[in-house]
Symmetry: D2
Subunit: 360 residues, 4 copies
């Protein structure tokens, strides 16, 4: 890869302290399948953060596994999930949820988020007894797929409507680190534990090689969860590698520290582009930036950087997605901004020259 | 863990060269989801071994994932698998195959192995049109669950009957390293590729932290396989960690070298116990030893070692399972043998003394 | 039930000739599971209608069974269906399709119908390799859920785009009788056979007690279809009762005759209401009428009739659904119209009187 | 069909009173999907028989549907069923249970029946946490697949072990009529209701055209059951046809009367063959007879009768299955017996003649 990539937050390996921990503990014998000391340590650390001794915590290899396990272990065959149309489980998981037999009822998101109104609407539109799958769970992602975050009061409002409609809440935390580190939220892990039924903490996108931690409130569901993990191929023999990574990430708040780096580099790109006069397609609240850029600028940036073209607008401009991570190099961020500034300056010069052209 | 454990071949982390490779490549940016350079290298290395440029190879996080993906991607809903009653997918995978909708038709194994006769019998007993799931695939594991291995001619005979009955063959290679390294087989990776439809090479049990390589002959099945991986939660964002491990294992035949160490330490334990006069419950052909030991000796060994009690025989003696691995320490093997010898000597002395006792 | 009901087209039993046929053939012994003489006769009759000797035809007990069997037998686990948001499989089948593991990708319907443009859009929006289920089949219902019908050229256009995108076409024919009997279509059973991959002919809604006939073009899919039927609980031991019904319906075009009765009574209600000045929420092309009526008129009609309130509009008026059937009594149709006319006359009188009131 | 068939108990249509009831009620309008008056009447009649006002009862179109719905609605994905190896769900339902994601753990039957010992063994052999599907339900069929019946004390013993192991009990009653009408049992419907968690009463094999009644004890499971029915394609629009049939069968004990006819004709065939000196492969306790006959006699009987060859014994004799039904004609039963007697007499004569032959 000759270009620097802002494609995603999983292009590098792991934070060096994780590699170091893997090396340090490598030759000790450990009990298999998640019953190792490192996993126990990581569970303890998470329980401390959420202030809940009774929570069950299991580590799984991927976000898709975390989602499908959470849903399939909670729902009966006739029960459905409510989610935003833009939800990861709807758009980017190859029907992983449907493959476990469950329908996802969708509603358009507002700023990437589900709202109590949308949840009630989805519920009401799916209440014809026996002829419509019974809504039983609400799925939200935090940070959302477009990088926005839920505030404590937003989540509390969702929890209230869900309680009244007897719906469970699952929070997909693939980018929970970025959400918790966002200046736009007032939410803590403890809040999340208390306002949801299950949630998971993404390791892969916050500096781990692999691994997500599923946190489960219900005792009996938690106790049976490893059966589901094994059944779906998500119970690793060497569960120790998930344990050691989370244990490392939770020491000295490394997890939040890494997320903050991702968020602040994104903020720098975002605010710089805004300062140059470019609009954003979505608010920059975490580590994803969605600027609307002229096609020519995009071509220029693509000479040195990789990122996704997210959408093409009617006026020819492009929405691009720039993702930063725990590993994003500051020098690359600055180079990206500089290239944009220089292009901007150059294009303004041309515009001025154009204007000055004598009419023939 | 204060005792040394012979419970399994996945109690340690990875071979140090793997940890080293992870560290060395850690900060380079790589394309996600298995499209990284390391995975490409590992694929190339496997294709060289099997002498088949056209084979599709994908890396998945667990053996259960490898099995359920292989089966679910090949079969139609009404199609079934034939396997030995003792098969891993039957006994130890929490109905992972049934969870994808497929029935497993079982037949008793012979020395842990399926035979052409058993396959034909299973086929014939499940041929009532529309009222019995249609047999379409045969599952074999090599090494088997009790450590035995298929010879080339055994596999060729299975391939012949499967061809005549229009059955696919899947080989579960969780311990394929041990099988290939066994002195009891004449089979190569190339043979296996040509005599099966799909097979997988187990990394987890041969020195990797995680990862199994699924090798697929059919082009169209191979092309669609990543969809199945994503759908079941088995497509890792940082697929690079699977690639780098297999790439390392395949350099300088490290893979076979590690398997040989496991096999030779098992052979040493096995032959020593046989020399002491103990019987084996199953032949020792790879890295699993199943001696039949007196209960008192088992208690003695348990003071310093952990291993599974596999079965209790009518005469009170115990079948135990002793598993060695790429990481098994020779000093521990010797200590285990010495303890058995000393106990044996002591018990003979007692026996002699018992005999010498004057009848009162 | 004291009120006459226009709720649906399955409130009565079967056409008397069907009851008579059941009685007449009752005591003859027949081979079970669809291999009876009556089912063979019915298959022959359908093959004659579609002009295709090679078509495979199977009879199943319900429309949901017909849909889920058609889809589950055709698709691989990672393949998805494209359907209108208003499709029966989306809105009213309790996630029957998802329960077989498949995702439904939706697009808003145009007059209840899918269009080539919508199909292409759905395809394009779901083409991210491995991360989105692969579109492989298009589901359309004819008549649609709102009673409209596809013309031959509309279906041909869909067939063309599907061919170019390698998509199969399934036509849900729960109300195929009404569609074929509609004056708005120029399509024949023969056209449908040639322009789709599978379709089914609804018996339940056209005068049978139970039963739908699935017509399958692909030989190998057809041959294995009974396995799927048995597996999903849809293979009836006394398949004869499905055969005898379809055989009866296909004699002397009874099927079309019954559908025409349903359509013509619906047309009478529809045109009468339009004549009175009421608008329609959807075109009346088959046996479903969706008039927009004042709430007071709805209350009046509900004194003697049952029908569904479909929607409530902003101005307080109601969309109601009036469904006629093969069994609808003409006297009831007339009574319904008369009640509406009388209410209309009364309300106009009141309106006139209101206008004439002296302003106090 | 020129030969008279003893292949099964579903070769004829329905008892004439059912056809009559269908005709009589045909044109009344009824609420759809099982909410009709006839279904309510039938439910009331069943509740009276079992002495349980609170039981939930639903009618489904097939035995396979009854089984898969009962199991899929009760179990979580990781839970398994224990059944006899000869169970219908194991041998003759095309993996219908596995298609809902569940594993069936099998044990050899004793006289076609499961025993408390076998249940405990199955449970104990499947108790490795997380690596084996968790046994949660026991499936028994009554009458069994070979026509034997459970006594009250046998069922009570099973209920006791299931209670102690936290296992649910499902009784497949495809031939429950025959079981209740058997002289070998002392069990009533009331007993069955109290000793199981769910059971179903087979209509198809006891004189109905179609339909099985599922009886559910748990209120919440019962309340949600129609969702499962709809999802699996088993909720009929014209549920009335199931209701009217069960309602008719339950009047004046028609159901038991029909079952007794089937049992007594089977008993006549069985005892006559035994009198002639033939052995039985299984006890004749209901309407299935499994005599062991010489191949020549079988060929003779096949000239006028159809029945299944069940097994071929080493000595060349054949196990055949002769099934009688509510519709079995007495004259045919006598003809069958006479043919056997005549053949027997003829063969003895030949044997005598053979003996008398002078040795040349």
């Amino acid at each position: 890869m000759s270009k620097y990539n802002f494609l995603d937050d999983y292009s590098e390996g792991a934070h060096p302290r994780i590699i170091e921990a893997l090396a340090r503990t490598n030759m000790t014998q450990q009990t298999a399948y998640g019953n190792d000391e490192f996993s126990q340590d990581a569970r303890e650390a998470i329980r401390n953060k959420i202030g809940a001794d009774e929570a069950t915590i299991h580590f799984v290899p991927s976000g898709t596994a975390a989602n499908l396990l959470s849903i399939a272990s909670c729902l009966r065959p006739h029960e459905a999930i409510i989610a935003a149309s833009s939800a990861h489980i709807v758009m980017k998981e190859t029907a992983a949820i449907e493959a476990t037999g469950h329908k996802i009822i969708t509603q358009p998101a507002v700023d990437g988020k589900l709202t109590p109104d949308k949840i009630r609407l989805a519920f009401d539109q799916n209440s014809i007894f026996a002829h419509q799958a019974k809504p039983k769970m609400v799925y939200i992602s935090n940070a959302t797929e477009i990088g926005t975050v839920y505030t404590r009061s937003e989540l509390a409002a969702i929890a209230a409507i869900c309680k009244s409609l007897d719906l469970l809440i699952l929070m997909d935390g693939a980018r929970l680190g970025a959400a918790l580190a966002s200046s736009e939220t007032d939410m803590t892990l403890n809040d999340i534990y208390h306002l949801t039924d299950l949630f998971w903490i993404g390791g892969t996108k916050t500096g781990a090689l692999i691994g997500e931690a599923v946190v489960i409130k219900d005792k009996s569901l938690g106790a049976d969860f490893p059966y589901h993990m094994k059944q779906r191929g998500a119970l690793l023999a060497k569960g120790r590698i998930l344990g050691i990574q989370f244990s490392t990430l939770l020491q000295d708040d490394l997890f939040l520290h890494l997320a903050r780096h991702a968020n602040s580099t994104a903020a720098e790109i975002s605010s710089s582009l805004v300062k140059m006069g470019f609009n954003l397609w979505a608010k920059t609240e975490t580590n994803q930036v969605f600027p609307i850029l002229p096609s020519a600028l995009v071509q220029e940036l693509q000479k040195e950087f990789d990122f996704y073209i997210w959408d093409r607008l009617c006026d020819g401009s492009l929405v691009v997605r720039v993702v930063t991570s725990w590993a994003t190099e500051l020098s690359k961020v600055r180079r990206f901004i500089t290239m944009a500034e220089e292009w901007k300056a150059g294009s303004q010069e041309i515009a001025v020259l154009e204007k000055q052209k004598p009419v023939v």
